[in-house]
Amino acid sequence: MTEQSFTFDGRPVAFRSGQSLGAALTAAGVRSWRTTRADGRPRGLFCGIGVCFDCLLVVDGRPNERACLQPAAAGMQVESQEGTGHGHLEV
């Protein structure tokens, strides 16, 4: 089977077909990829089934994707997320 990869904060992360971003990152030893809005605390997978919205990250420029639900795809540019991901809307 050919090795596929996406990038996470610029470095390649390998994944198997059908794996979620959250599963691939965890398998690669990455446990957190978001900071909380109020206190900047680290967050990663919590419920793992799409309910808790804790494992948010930025996928190809789109903030607030759930890592546990988003299937990994070759060439995806995944970034860790700070805050709401919508800072430009603040009034």
Partner: protein, 386 residues
């Protein structure tokens, strides 16, 4: 075996029951609160926590709302605003047509005579209040008195304050009926498990007030009016006030059973934006309606175009306690001595809760009521024989 007796049993641990318990306990009464579910588990947890004067014209409900608003401020000053997450955010009502603007202007002028502060906002000034608002809306009105609390937290905090004054709160306890003496007076409340001796019962069961009233011997015509709310992903502060379209006021006042929607948008402390509001009378049907969600989302995007780029996290729905004349039912039930009602506040229960609780406490203790309760008399629905 019976439980220890109390002066008053309050049925319902939502915001109204909590307020009745708090003001009753403060007046020196011993109070037991019973709820078949949990604290704030009914409509209190399905709303937005609004304390509004902006949607009310002059009349008894506005008088109750203004009295209640000042009691909310007193409670926040006494216990700390954080106990309720009380926010004096203000409301911005936006007209979406020239005709809508002229009726908003005349409605607002009438409100002024009832004690509501309404500041006209010209089209070009709307975005000073709400920078993310759509361009080109004809105008609106700003209502600095509108406020918001976190409703479940507020109910829990009021009950905690009542307990500090000696009240007892029992959840998971469903009221099944009342025991009455030879003179017809209530002597105890029966539950599935036990009985609670008491001299008086307050029916604060909200949307379920008709059923509870019937079990206690005096029903009231409270019906469910369903509403959906959409919840966005957490955002920075994107909406400063409660913002709604002017047709919301007509929807609230309507008696139509069919679906009515109007755009209502506001932020929360947690960062999510709440989007309402729909009204329809379909009984206690909890079925998710994609059509309602679609309409709510589309209307909100017309007011705040950025919302089209924002994800929805979930939706919820609940049942407002609707009365045919849109007024709450507060007062003694003369068919059943010892029974009082405090329910039927429709979509305004959070805002109206403290004044309702204080009025009930006045009625229970015989103190002169600080507000004329005549318009809320439960007997207005009953043809009384001589």
């Amino acid at each position: 075996m019976a439980e220890p007796g109390s002066d008053v049993v309050v049925v319902g641990a939502g915001i109204i029951g909590a307020a009745c318990a708090f003001f009753g306990a403060r007046a020196g009464l011993s109070i037991t609160v019973l709820d078949r579910g949990s604290v704030g588990g009914g409509t209190t947890s399905r709303c937005e926590g609004n304390i509004l004067v902006s949607d009310k014209g002059p009349g008894p409900e506005l008088d109750l709302a203004l009295a209640s608003r000042s009691l909310w401020l007193d409670l926040a000053a006494e216990h700390g605003a954080e106990r309720y997450e009380l926010e004096e955010k203000g409301g911005l009502v936006v007209a979406t047509s020239e005709a809508g603007l002229s009726s908003l202007r005349s409605f607002a002028a009438g409100q002024g005579t009832g004690g509501v502060i309404a500041e006209p906002v010209a089209s070009e000034r709307l975005r000073d209040h709400e920078p993310n608002l759509a361009a080109g809306l004809p105008g609106g009105a700003f209502y600095p008195q509108d406020m918001q609390v976190q409703p479940v937290l507020a109910a829990a905090s009021l009950l905690a304050a009542a307990r500090d004054l000696g009240a007892r709160v029992v959840t998971g306890e469903e009221v099944t009926g009342a025991l009455r003496g030879a003179d017809g007076r209530i002597t105890a409340v029966r539950t599935a498990r036990t009985t609670y001796p008491t001299a008086a019962v307050v029916n604060a069961a909200g949307t379920w007030g008709a059923v509870v009233g019937e079990r206690l011997g005096g029903t009231v015509p409270v019906l469910p009016r369903r509403g959906f709310i959409l919840v966005t992903e957490p955002l920075p502060r994107v909406v400063r006030h409660k913002v709604y379209s002017a047709d919301y006021v007509d929807n609230v006042a309507s008696g139509d059973a069919g679906l009515e929607t109007s755009a209502v948008v506001e932020g929360t402390r947690g960062g999510t934006v709440l989007i309402g509001a729909s009204r329809e009378r379909v009984g206690f049907d909890e079925t998710l309606s994609v059509e309602v969600l679609r309409r709510l989302a589309a209307q909100a995007v017309r007011l705040f175009p950025f919302l089209a780029q924002v994800r929805l996290m979930r939706s919820y729905r609940g049942f407002r306690p609707y009365c045919p004349d849109h007024l709450p039912v507060i007062g003694s039930d003369r068919r059943v001595p010892g029974l009082l009602h405090a329910c039927g506040h429709e979509g305004a229960g959070i805002g109206l809760a403290p004044a309702t609780g204080r009025l009930v406490a006045d009625l229970l203790t015989g103190a002169p009521p600080q507000l004329d309760p005549a318009a809320f008399d439960p007997m207005r629905f009953v043809l009384e024989d001589a």
